[in-house]
Symmetry: C3
């Protein structure tokens, strides 16, 4: 590696059980995707956000999926796309198509649709049985709806998801990172909620969506370099990893 | 298309008379431009923003224009570049050069310079006569100046522009999308103004600049999937189209 | 150049002594870097931000450095990376490695670590002796710490840095551009501070970090087209140059 005379913090390496970084691909082209692969050692999961893959040719999505998997990255859907399939009563066809096109991960959520914890658990078991790594998501996409969920309800649902076979549980924050889950209206971290979730669900099982740098730095300083973080923008993968390794101002000397 | 087992909303397809998406190219390189062409079915117009083309070699601009046109996308200038040419008394030379380099669209505006409605109409007729698709813009770039324009004045100018031959009228919002036209200081939509403009000018004839996602989602839910939207960032073309097709959380189940 | 029938403002051309533009590369891939080279005439310095180069292969960094230098752009480190090396007592090895990999610029700062003006001056002399163009930085990365520095202290440190051999002095603003140096909490320019610094240090010797467009436009209108500006995002190089040349709404007719 370049400048390897400089010591950096060690942390989990791929394949990781903790300290995962999940990147949001909201429709990248192939050159950008290839550029991103320079950062592949620091990416564990790439999520093709919501319905975006539906707008591309099958050939292009196959190429991207193959590129990501060749670089030892899990690839799957965003939860909304599952929810759309579920609403259209096409869950089985969706899972089969996802497997055929090369996905090895499925995200199961109920951010928009009403899906009870037990129905969600059944879907998770189904996906897991088909051989997918399953990630579930807890939280609502609409801030007013999301605020109605108590911390205890979030914990109970996460535990149900994990018991059904989910490998990790994502705490919703969307692309924006405000007024949802552990974030207040300004995007600041509500530490009491984050702590309760980590304590009851298990830090290694939680993945916090954390699109903004201040959120990433906060969670890394608070929970350590190996906190799982999601919805990272492609051009923020390297900056995030410098935060984890203590080689950016925000975390230098603080980990 | 990928995942075509999932139904999505149908809407106008290219070549579109309504539901246009106009993208702002503020100086992209060729790899990024080629990546963007994966989204070509969802792009109707690419505007080379303000004076940006002036800073590149003629060869590069020719290549980009040819690439965009090969993908059935209209290509033209941003209004400010016309205003600079007009101020330098080089309108004719500007139009001739634009045609020579391959533009098939011209944007005519008076966002900075004082240009009366009748003088603007004459310029529009001139551009139209030369065979360009003409888009006009209504509104000022400076918020204090823009606020002086009444809704009635905006409507009158838009109607004059359309009568002179403009295909569409853009409602100014710049790259930032705040404190201008239909947006308040926080970038929220002033629905009364938007409604009046749509009613008097005709929804299919208006193009709202809408650089932010909340603005796009609002206008799509309010006016429908085929509202014309402009100043879209290149990496927001696919996300915008998912909003129009009801496959993103913000519009899923709401169109 | 394209559209060269349109007159634009002339200003310093490369190699520039003033009016420098410094770009922040926070981990770009090679396609993006090649795209950026279309804008090379408007880029004087590229800084590989903080510890980012440490996360890539030596081969990739060598390629990027060579690409930038082939386009007559100075390439060097961000100050934090030096501070990390200094803290690890590896300044000599860091400088030697930087020279070996092709850097021709070093940034010396004390934004996180305590490094007295005289110790900083010694480091600057050392770097300069090795043949590097040296840029120093004044200011702290943590807003509360930064606010403790008086304007007089900033001026004194800048003058000490210049006397020791720094070619320019950067006024810290980080990637965010808020609550630091000459910027208030909303990112607005504190004109009194900017003026004092310019007057006492010399406008040509100062480089203001100015990541946001309103900051760039303000400083260009206030200090002229040839103000030195840093921490420019890659896709903002062309927009910035249009501001300098008077071909964007914000500066058209105002320079």
């Amino acid at each position: 590696m370049a400048f390897d005379i400089i010591e950096i913090l060690t942390r989990s390496e791929k394949p990781r059980q903790k300290g995962l970084t999940m990147v949001l691909d909201k429709g990248m082209g192939l050159y950008q995707a290839e550029d991103l692969m320079e950062a592949a050692p620091y990416i564990d999961i790439i999520k093709l956000g919501w319905g975006t893959p539906r707008l591309f040719s099958e050939q292009l999505i196959r190429k991207k999926v193959a590129l990501y998997k060749k670089n030892d990255i899990y690839v799957g859907n965003g939860g909304t796309f599952f929810e759309i399939a579920y609403t259209q009563k096409k869950t089985n066809a969706f899972f089969a198509y996802a497997r055929d096109i090369g996905f090895n991960l499925l995200e199961i959520s109920n951010g928009v649709i009403p899906l009870s914890a037990s129905d969600k658990a059944e879907v998770i078991r189904h996906a897991k049985k088909m051989g997918f790594l399953v990630i579930s998501e807890v939280g609502k996409k609409e801030p007013v709806e999301d605020r109605k969920l108590t911390v205890q309800e979030r914990i109970a649902e996460a535990q149900s998801d994990l018991k059904a076979g989910a490998g990790h549980v994502i705490i919703e924050a969307r692309e924006g990172g405000k007024s949802l889950g552990i974030y207040d209206e300004a995007g600041g971290v509500r530490e009491d909620i984050a702590n309760s979730l980590a304590q009851e669900i298990g830090l290694e099982k939680i993945m916090f969506e954390a699109p903004e740098k201040n959120q990433q730095a906060y969670l890394i300083v608070h929970f350590g370099a190996d906190v799982n973080l999601g919805n990272i923008r492609p051009d923020e993968v390297i900056p995030l990893e410098t935060l984890r390794r203590g080689i950016r101002g925000d975390t230098f000397g603080r980990l």
